[in-house]
């Protein structure tokens, strides 16, 4: 086999590995979103979520403990939250914090780094801070510039007419009474309807996951990892390199601590933390999935702001630890 064919063959295998590892988590996320839609009357519980700009993302971030899945599984749940009319801060707080603030990820971080207690505190704390900051930043954008078109339409149907007009909703009945709150009638969906919606959602997300895994596999096959780790002990360089590595490698957050363990000794503490913080929020595998939630501009803002925030945290840790 020629070297280039060998590389293609290797990229194809990495792609399959990434995809087969992510599918169960995606399915879990879609199943949880579907189950929530079926068991809990739509809109009833999301109305009770705090709308305060600061409390909303904090609540969302803490909701991560309810979903022990990696970042792929959180996307359908966050989408369901947004479509049901949940406060945007809550949904985004959940989306960005849940991949770290969940029991499995915290346990795996502890299992990988039992001798580094600072990391067991810094990772969840850092993820929480990044999630809250990103949520606070994103909610500054108008919904029309932030949310993906189909999701926005779905969300508008769940919002009260007092805040969203019929023209904005693109649907509804003229003459409907304008109420402050959305209707809370508990019209439980049939299980078959949930299966219909969830299967469509799964296939939509799967197509995007396939795209993300393809990109991640190609990039990491042609970008030798040793180049990224060559910067080793340089305080800022190592943080930037490990951030790039986290974006490229795209492994799920429940196992990334074990991967980090492999090169923990070669890099600065700040770089190690940066790797563990950025990957669950931004990676190549997620790029496609995010398009069902946000518009390209909002995705770009998320990527840039998350990277900047993680870089600052990494620098601060290096100043403190080195």
């Amino acid at each position: 086999m020629t070297p280039s064919l060998e590389k293609i063959s290797t990229a194809w295998a990495i792609f399959q590995g990434l995809l087969l590892e992510a599918i169960p988590f995606l399915l879990l996320g879609v199943a949880i979103a579907g189950l929530a839609r079926w068991l809990v009357p739509q809109n009833a519980w999301v109305q009770r979520l705090p709308k305060n700009p600061l409390l909303a993302p904090i609540t969302g971030a803490l909701m991560g403990f309810a979903l022990p899945a990696c970042e792929c599984g959180n996307v359908p749940v966050a989408r369901r939250l947004l479509a049901s009319g949940a406060p945007m801060g809550t949904a985004f707080g959940f989306l960005f914090a849940a991949p770290v603030l969940n029991p499995i990820v915290l346990a795996s971080t502890w299992a990988a780094f039992p001798d580094q207690p600072w990391l067991l505190v810094a990772r969840p704390l850092g993820a929480f801070v990044i999630a809250v900051l990103l949520s606070l930043l994103l909610v500054q954008l108008p919904e029309t510039q932030l949310l993906e078109h189909a999701l926005l339409s779905e969300r508008r149907m769940s919002q009260p007419l007092s805040t969203v007009g019929l023209l904005e909703r693109s649907g509804g009945l003229v003459g409907d009474p304008i109420r402050e709150l959305t209707p809370t009638q508990s019209t439980r969906l049939r299980a078959s309807d949930v299966l219909e919606q969830s299967s469509r959602e799964f296939l939509d997300l799967l197509a995007l996951l396939v795209l993300g895994c393809l990109i991640a596999a190609l990039v990491q096959t042609w970008l030798p990892r040793s180049w990224l780790l060559a910067v080793g002990g340089a305080p800022t360089g190592s943080i930037l390199a490990l951030m790039l590595l986290a974006v490229v490698v795209s492994v799920c957050s429940s196992v990334d601590a074990f991967l980090a363990l492999g090169f923990a000794a070669q890099v600065t503490p700040g770089a190690l933390l940066a790797f563990l913080l950025l990957g669950p929020v931004v990676d190549l595998k997620l790029v496609g999935l995010f398009t069902v939630l946000m518009r390209p501009r909002a995705i770009a803002i998320t990527a840039v702001a998350a990277s900047f925030g993680v870089l600052l945290i990494g620098q601060w840790v290096n100043l403190w630890q080195l």
Partner: protein, 217 residues
């Protein structure tokens, strides 16, 4: 109809990858059960949808077309990574060894356990003369002689990390890249790059097929 069929295709691919052993090449063993359950769930959901949608026509958006194409490609083209290529592009960096590795007699240590031991115990003289009985693939390095190596994974092939041992290849033996070999011999100390390092001195080298589970935790 289409949705049900697509779910069945994907469910079958996922389940087949577990049954056929293809997953052994891609993913760490602890995840196999989870993948298998998700494959079965997708198959079940697909069958239910197919029965409910019998005779109903459905529009198939292009992203579904592309994912169906990829699904068929996955089915047709099994993974066949170049282990040597993967090893060459990644730095060696094994996690701390499990304690069990140290109590195993030298002849029972796997290649990965040898690498872990040598990394934690830098003095090569301590293992000089120890019997070696290992298997691995030939890792052809850009700079340096070929090594006998294994890949370790924590999750999937994307995080594979190489563990390689230096071998004093016998005269006339040309190791072929990616070839799997079983080596019996003993450890010796040799000078490499002006450093004393532990090197495998083979007594017998036997080409073997790729093991059923080539990746190590």
């Amino acid at each position: 109809m289409i949705r049900g069929t697509l779910l069945i295709i994907w469910g079958w691919i996922v389940l087949w990858s577990v049954i056929s052993g293809r997953l052994d090449l891609l993913l760490r063993g602890v995840f196999h059960g989870l993948v298998g359950v998700s494959g079965a769930a997708l198959l079940l959901a697909g069958v239910v949808l197919l029965i409910r949608h019998r005779g109903r026509r459905e529009r198939m958006p292009w992203p579904w077309w592309s994912s169906a194409t990829i699904a068929l490609l996955v089915l047709i083209a099994p993974p066949n990574p170049s282990f040597s290529d993967l090893a060459e592009s990644r730095p060696q960096g094994l996690p701390e060894p499990p304690e069990l590795a140290f109590v195993l007699p030298p002849g029972q240590r796997t290649l990965t356990e040898w690498v872990r031991l040598l990394r934690s115990q830098q003095d090569p003289d301590l293992v000089d003369g120890n019997p070696v009985n290992i298997s691995g693939f030939v890792w052809t390095q850009k700079n340096g002689p070929p090594l006998i190596a294994r890949l370790t994974v924590r999750c999937c092939l994307a995080d594979a990390t190489p563990a390689g041992l230096a071998v004093d290849w016998p005269d006339g033996f040309e190791p072929t890249t990616n070839q799997w070999l079983a080596i019996q011999g003993e450890m010796a100390v040799a000078m490499r790059n002006e450093q004393r390092v532990a090197v495998v001195m083979p007594k017998t080298i036997t080409p073997i097929p790729r093991p059923k589970r080539p990746l190590e935790p």
